[in-house]
């Protein structure tokens, strides 16, 4: 089982600091030669390291050393930007689309609305140190936020807009965490190869008055995140 040795060798180089976070590994053909094996076996080893979250790849660009994951507490309202800054990371957000649409079956169900209701849909990609790590889609009950899209969604966080312009704040969050893999446009937006392991966080958010506000689906590159939280039991 030769790929174990390859794995270990690469892990050692990472831990010894020969390879540092976000650094590109040599080309597959070069690595395969260095380890005296074929690309197939080499890629087997790399895929395993990818599953462990030690390396990641960018589609057709190569393999890179994974940086430390960001710690994420779904029970905090802290938005991505503030969460990142609190951890001395460099966040950036790219707005892909913000528009009013008719609710899909899936979105309508999540928002507890009849099919084809008017909702807002906001798609964003979020970066850490210029690496795209998160693809988020928000579905928002339109009737709660008239003219939401006239606010500058590309510069302000949604939670800030909710609070400042509509007096609405998150009070209760239902979340679900699953593992899956990145496909299609989402994979592309994250510069990932289809099939890259992912962590999926789905949240449904309720306001102070118990009203359902919005829901979001987050696709994280799985090595970029660790969920970290505390639960108090009321017993």
């Amino acid at each position: 089982m030769q790929y174990l040795k390859i794995k270990d060798a690469i892990v050692e180089q990472i831990e010894d600091g020969m390879l540092t976070a976000r650094q590109k590994l040599p080309a597959e053909r070069k690595l395969a030669e260095a380890f005296d094996t074929t690309r197939v076996t080499l890629r087997e080893a790399l895929s395993m390291l990818e599953a462990e979250g030690r390396v990641y790849r960018e589609d057709r660009r190569g393999w890179f050393v994974s940086p430390e994951p960001m710690s994420y507490d779904p029970t905090q309202t802290l938005n991505f930007t503030n969460m990142a800054l609190a951890q001395q990371r460099q966040p950036r957000t790219e707005l892909l689309a913000a528009k009013q649409v008719l609710a899909s079956k899936h979105a309508a169900k999540k928002l507890e609305l009849p099919p084809f209701s008017d909702i807002y849909r906001v798609d964003r990609v979020r970066y850490l140190e210029e690496r795209p790590v998160l693809y988020v889609t928000n579905f928002i009950r339109a009737e709660l936020f008239p003219d939401l899209l006239k606010r500058d969604c590309s510069r302000n966080s949604l939670t800030d807009i909710y609070r400042e312009h509509y007096g609405v704040e998150y009070q209760r969050i239902r979340y679900r965490i699953t593992t899956s893999s990145l496909q299609g446009e989402i994979a592309q937006a994250l510069r990932a190869t289809a099939g890259t392991p992912a962590m999926v966080v789905e949240r449904i958010n309720y306001s102070q008055t118990g009203e359902l506000i919005d829901c979001d689906i987050e696709y994280w590159r799985h090595d970029a995140i660790t969920i970290d939280s505390i639960a108090e039991l009321s017993a």
Copy 2:
């Protein structure tokens, strides 16, 4: 991209009910022939389905259709058995080892104890419908539970023993969720191939009096679980 067609064909068969939960897929060689391709490509497709959580494999035994994941709320004290029963699933637990050991560096740190302290270590494998899905290791502060190992750990849940014999209950839980992959003994115990995607849940549990009781590391087959919880924000 032929493996996409293979994926879709298999997904379709699952969704049409031709293949049902826990059913074994045909042998790789048969499938490869059926799709007119090589085993390498076929395995590529299967690995992708594995990453998506639609199929799983048992080491050297073959590929199977993933059943519905179990929903797991880390903020509930419900132990595995009750959680499973509440969801009409059939749980079983196998005790691998329960012994008093000297704390490893890692365990000592988690338990906030000096190195080489006396602790209990309990290793268990948990099954759903006779499929091994979870490998748990508990590290327990020995001084809080004299003679714990004389109780029947193989028949009773740890939380029950804590409560009934020592009057200790969980009050606060710190948890961390990561994705990784199964390796070595853990993979073996779960009948998994090394490298199988996994969800890792680490918990540190505190009692009513705020005292650190124990911690546990849970390795889940990633397709067997979805984390499902609610957070109330105190704002």
